[in-house]
């Protein structure tokens, strides 16, 4: 089957899956106690029936449930994510406003974890059993097992409060009016701690996986053959072992990539990073239905998209997969 046909059929299935996810999300969310009108009224510290009725009418919550669901599905089919009454803005705009910050954070973390994870895994595999290997595996285990939240707080405490090297939170220096390179550097400094915090877990996973996979593949017969041919160690590692050992890492990287949009809630909260994860979390607390549904849908779309990308990458890394299917 050609890659093109695979992509088209997968995209068709993906559209149906997304629709199902949207409906399921809608049902789940409306099953949760409370609604946006009640939350808004609650925050006002005073409320009467008139106020709550007005809010429900404005939000369209006074209509029968199936009408609300029908309207929602209808607008999704027109690629309209709806309007956030709480924030007074279209949901697509809210998401687009937050998307750059989130992608900057998650992509940086993604690249850091992938590059360093694989490199360290290859290195550890090459020095298996030696002290440096033990040190790396122990560190990896530590980062793998430490809760993200705690790690983030400790990083802030050490590098921001004690040492004062890096800003502990925020996206950029507020009110500094920086532009161009100075602004990029400023954002970069703010990016270091959250990106490392977010990236360390996956880096540890990639490292352990690469190392184990490298060791397994290096025992296989074709590696002996390559060695018998007189190829250098470096070439064998790169062309023969790594290429075969990388498949499980690709699978996992696909999973991590699926979380690029919605997977950084904790990190964004601790570091006050103005991203999508926080938008989702805060909207959930406020029962801002349209916004949560919008974020869920975009996140789901990303997961599905990266599943497809992962499949394609498989075929590039290991051409046998395409041939077999």
């Amino acid at each position: 089957m050609s890659v093109f046909i695979v992509i088209v059929s997968r995209l068709a299935k993906a559209a149906l899956t997304l629709l199902a996810i949207a409906i399921l999300n809608f049902l789940l969310l409306h099953a949760a106690p409370g609604d946006p009108a009640l939350v808004l009224a609650g925050e006002a510290g005073a409320a009467d029936e008139q106020m709550i009725a007005q809010l429900r009418e404005r939000f369209g919550l006074d209509q029968p449930f199936y009408v609300q669901l029908g309207k929602y599905v209808g607008s999704i089919l027109q690629f309209d994510l709806g309007y956030s009454f709480r924030q007074g803005a279209p949901v697509s705009q809210l998401i687009m406003d937050r998307l750059p910050a989130t992608l900057l954070l998650t992509l940086t973390a993604f690249v850091i974890s992938l590059v360093f994870g694989i490199a360290l895994g290859v290195g550890a595999a090459a020095r298996v059993g030696r002290a440096s290997d033990s040190l790396l595996t122990t560190l990896a285990l530590l980062f793998y097992a430490t809760p993200l939240y705690w790690l983030a707080l400790m990083a802030v405490l050490v590098f921001s409060v004690w040492l004062g090297w890096l800003p502990g939170f925020g996206y950029e220096t507020v009110g500094a009016n920086l532009t161009g390179l100075a602004r990029a550097l400023d954002i970069g400094r703010h990016l270091v701690l959250p990106a490392l915090t977010l990236g360390l877990f996956f880096m540890a996973v990639y490292m352990r996986m690469t190392r184990a996979s490298m060791l397994e593949v290096s025992q296989l017969d074709f590696v002996k053959t390559a060695r018998a041919k007189g190829l250098s160690d470096a070439v064998i590692r790169r062309r023969h072992i790594l290429r075969n050992a990388i498949l499980p890492v690709v699978t996992l990287a696909g999973l991590q990539a699926g979380q690029l949009v919605g997977g950084a809630v904790l990190t964004e909260t601790v570091f006050a990073w103005p991203g999508i994860g926080r938008l989702m979390f805060e909207s959930l607390a406020a029962r801002d239905y349209n916004t949560i549904l919008g974020v869920f849908l975009v996140s789901a779309a990303m997961v599905i998209l990266f599943n497809i990308v992962t499949d394609i990458v498989y075929r590039i890394v290991d051409p046998r997969i395409g041939a077999r299917a």
Binding site: L38, V39, A89, V161, G170, R278
Partner: protein, 515 residues
Amino acid sequence: MTYLKATTFLIAAALAAPVAAQQAGGRLDIVVQPEPPGLMLGLVQNGPTQLVAGDIYESLLRYDTDLVPQPSLAESWTISDDGLVYTFTLREGVTWHDGTPFTAADVVFSADVFLRETHARLRSSLAYVDSITAPDDLTVVFTLKEPFGPFINAFETGTMPIVPKHIYDGTDYANNPANATPIGTGPFKFEAWEKGSYIHLVKNEDYYIDGLPYLDEVFYRVIPDAAARAVAFETGEVDVLPGGSVENWDVPRLTQMDNVCSTGNGWEFFAPHAWMWLNNREGPTADAKFRQAVMYAMDREFVKDVVWNGYGKVATGPISSKTNFYSDDVTIYDHNPDKAKELLAEMGYDGTPVRLLPLPYGETWQRWAEAVRQNLSEVGINVEIESTDVAGWNEKTSQWDYDMAFTYLYQYGDPALGVSRNYTADRIQKGSPWNNVEGYDNPALDAKWAAAATMVTPEERAAAYLDIQKEIIDDVPVAWLLELEFPTIYRCDIKDLVTTGIGVNDGPRNAWIEK
């Protein structure tokens, strides 16, 4: 006479001294938590909105920390002897941030048209109002149907913000695009809002009081995690932590830092009063003896000292000691487990478990619920803690699906504004977490509450409220806990930040930084 002279001299000295020292310039970074849903104060009145928009919008009056009215948009005012006619003379030369002159028409539009439709809390006060008129551009007259003592407290910024008629008249208020860039008359203008990061206000150069404000700009910083907010203050990123922005156990550590001051002032207008709703309709809590037993079983001093780090005051009843007409000449519930056991034995409590709903506002409230559970189990009451999030809490309390539920409410300076709403039978309405949620129904007291609200002289009202307090405190419709105190933590070189009964909400107007 000597006394008078000395006082006059002291006042003159107090007024003169700081004037010489006040320095203009500088910026203030203040934590705002959580991020407000909007800044149009006429539409949204939650705490964070009031904190930020209190610099943008103004009202006719301000209130000092003793709740005495002070001029703001109104220069002077008179109340007729029968308590029915309130006449305000407005300040001359006030303009909106877009340059349009501010007039009495704006006040009439705000109070009579806009806020009547959008502001639930003000609406209940406006029910006493017969007409609001503007005889000329600088005069506004409120005529009441019957005397309403607390009416003079209704002119605070969060209660009656004056909104621009030229922008809102005839529009769909909630969807007016101008809501994104609020226009007020206040000392600071809206500049920018980076969602998720900060709100930026800048000095209103055309403010009608010469020299004010002193600050050039104010940044309200959105930092979602409580520990990160504490760190932000420690590292100097922010200068002011308004009350309640960090967990209580971080307060001693922060206030012990160099050049850090704190004050409990600035909450007098709100007087946050904490209690547990006790469901008067069903279960053990329907029995007054059980409710009294709960009061005696709780060690509220312990909670104040340990859970709240010593901040606050044990509440004696429904009215806060910071609010007008408070009296402590009532039955005092001390920590007396034996008495609680006696009462439970008298009623024949059979060990039926009661569900306790904590307030989902952070760790402090969770710990408080645990302390109460322990106290109650010591006298033999079985308590099950049911946790939920804010939306779930609103739903459960407003649908009366609880046995005991933590809450705290503002009192707004007068029992008729912020207290009676929780105890009179006409406020038993499903669907709101802020009315008579416990279902207390006492027609004799209802009549007394109503009468006390419309008495003309403060002396009459004080006597009436004393009578009410004595009676209701023996009934224990809800379990009163603490008069909460939320310390404002700030750098000591920030001066005059908290000078009114609403504290930081309108604090930047007079604040200045000593260099």
